[in-house]
Subunit: 226 residues, 2 copies
C-alpha cells in the first residue's frame, strides 16, 4: 500500500515537473537542482558561484529548508533574488513547491536558476523538479563511501562537486575511490573538486555551467531532458 | 491526500514500534537509535563504543542502509553480531524493518542494541523504532546551524554526539552556538564532544549508556517510553 501511494505521488510530481521544465525552457532559464547532505556546503558553493557570475550572468535562487530562512538571507545579502521554501517537515523539494516558487520570481531576463534542495542525500533524488541539470554535492569530511551507500543521487547527477577539499589532509577521503564509484554508476558525470570558501575550484564549475547555458540556448540540451 | 497517507503510515509504525519496545524491555535489552547525516561518523562512533564495551557489555548492532553491507561488515569484523537492513530506497528505518531484524538476533543475554539509522538528518526523526534512547550525531564539518535547520532530530534525541572534534581548528563551527540551539529545543538532552577515531570523548558516551542500562534494569526508564 505504501509503495502504491509513493508511485502515485511521483507520477503527479512528474507532471508538474514537466510543466516547470517547459516554463523555464520558454523563458530561456537554465535550472540547476543542487542536492547534498546537511552541511555538505551547498549554500557556500551557490554563494561562490553567484560571486563569480556577478555582473555577467543574471541568476536567482530558490532555497529549500524544513524551517527557517538562514540560507535565503545569505543569498539576498549578495543582491540576488531568492525565494525561500519551507517544506513544513518534508525532507525534499517537490515540483509543486517549485511551481509555487516560480510564481514569485521574475523570469524575464533570467539566465540561471539555482535550486538548493533540502539537506538530504536520499529523498531529493526521487523528485524531478523540472530542472535541466542536477548537481550532487559531497564534502570530503562525509567520507568516500557515499556513492556506494547512496547511489540514486550520484546516478542521476550531471556533475558531482566534491567540497571542502582543504580538509583532505585531515581525513582519509580518497579522491580516486569516489571518482571510480561515481563513474561506475554514471560514466558521463562531470567531477569537480573545490574549496569554495577559499575560492578554489569555483571557476571550473562556473565554466561548466556557462557551457550548459550556451548549449541550452542552441537547443542542444534535449538529451538531458526527460 | 499525501498527508493522510503519511499519518496512516506513522500510526501503523507506532503500533509495531510499541511491540518492539515491549519485546526488548522483556528481554532486558536497551535499544539506541543512532541518527545523523551521511558521513557524520555514526559507524565510527558505534565501533568506538563497541571496542570500549568489549568483554563488559554484550552488544549487537542493526545497520540500516539504502544499499550494501559495508557497515555491517565493519561491525562483524569486531566480533559483534550485526544485522544489515537494506531499505531498498527508503530513506529511513521503520519499526517493521526492526521487527524483522529482531527475529534474526538472539536477544537472550543481550544488554545493548545499537541501531544505526540510514544517513539522513530528517526522515528518521519521524519513525519510532521502539528504541529506548535516541542519539543524534553531528560532525563539526556539517556546520553549527543544523539544529535550527533540522529541529526534529534534535528535539527528540536524548543525547547529541558532536563528532570529528579534531577538525574544529579547520572549521568555523561554534560549540556554544550548537549547544545553545540544542538546549533551546531540548533542555534535557545530554551533549558530548568526540574525536572517535582518536578515542577522545568515547568514555563519556559509554558511561552515559551504562547509566541508562542500569536505570532501565531498575525500571526507571518509564519517562522515556511512549
Amino acid at each position: 500500500m505504501r509503495i502504491v501511494a509513493a508511485t502515485k505521488i511521483l507520477k503527479a510530481n512528474d507532471q508538474i515537473a514537466a510543466e516547470n521544465r517547459a516554463l523555464l525552457a520558454s523563458a530561456g532559464v537554465c535550472c540547476v537542482n543542487v542536492i547534498g547532505s546537511p552541511g555538505s556546503g551547498k549554500t557556500t558553493l551557490i554563494e561562490a558561484l553567484l560571486k563569480h557570475f556577478a555582473g555577467r550572468i543574471r541568476a536567482a535562487v530558490i532555497e529549500g529548508d524544513i524551517a527557517g530562512s538562514i540560507d535565503a538571507e545569505r543569498i539576498e545579502a549578495l543582491g540576488i533574488p531568492a525565494v525561500q521554501i519551507n517544506t513544513a517537515g518534508a525532507c525534499h523539494l517537490d515540483a509543486a513547491m517549485i511551481a509555487a516558487a516560480l510564481r514569485e520570481l521574475d523570469l524575464s531576463g533570467l539566465q540561471l536558476l539555482l535550486i538548493e534542495n533540502v539537506g538530504n542525500l536520499v529523498c531529493p533524488a526521487s523528485f524531478d523538479l523540472g530542472e535541466r541539470l542536477r548537481t550532487a554535492v559531497l564534502s570530503v569530511s562525509e567520507g568516500d563511501d557515499k556513492a556506494v551507500k547512496y547511489p540514486a543521487v550520484f546516478q542521476s547527477a550531471h556533475a558531482l562537486c566534491i567540497t571542502k577539499a582543504d580538509l583532505l589532509p585531515y581525513t582519509n577521503f580518497s579522491l580516486p575511490r569516489i571518482t571510480a564509484d561515481l563513474h561506475r554508476l554514471n560514466p558521463q558525470a562531470r567531477c569537480f573538486q573545490l574549496a569554495a570558501l577559499r575560492g578554489e575550484g569555483v571557476a571550473a564549475v562556473a565554466e561548466w555551467l556557462i557551457e550548459c547555458l550556451s548549449a541550452g540556448r542552441a537547443g542542444a540540451d534535449a538529451s538531458s531532458e526527460k
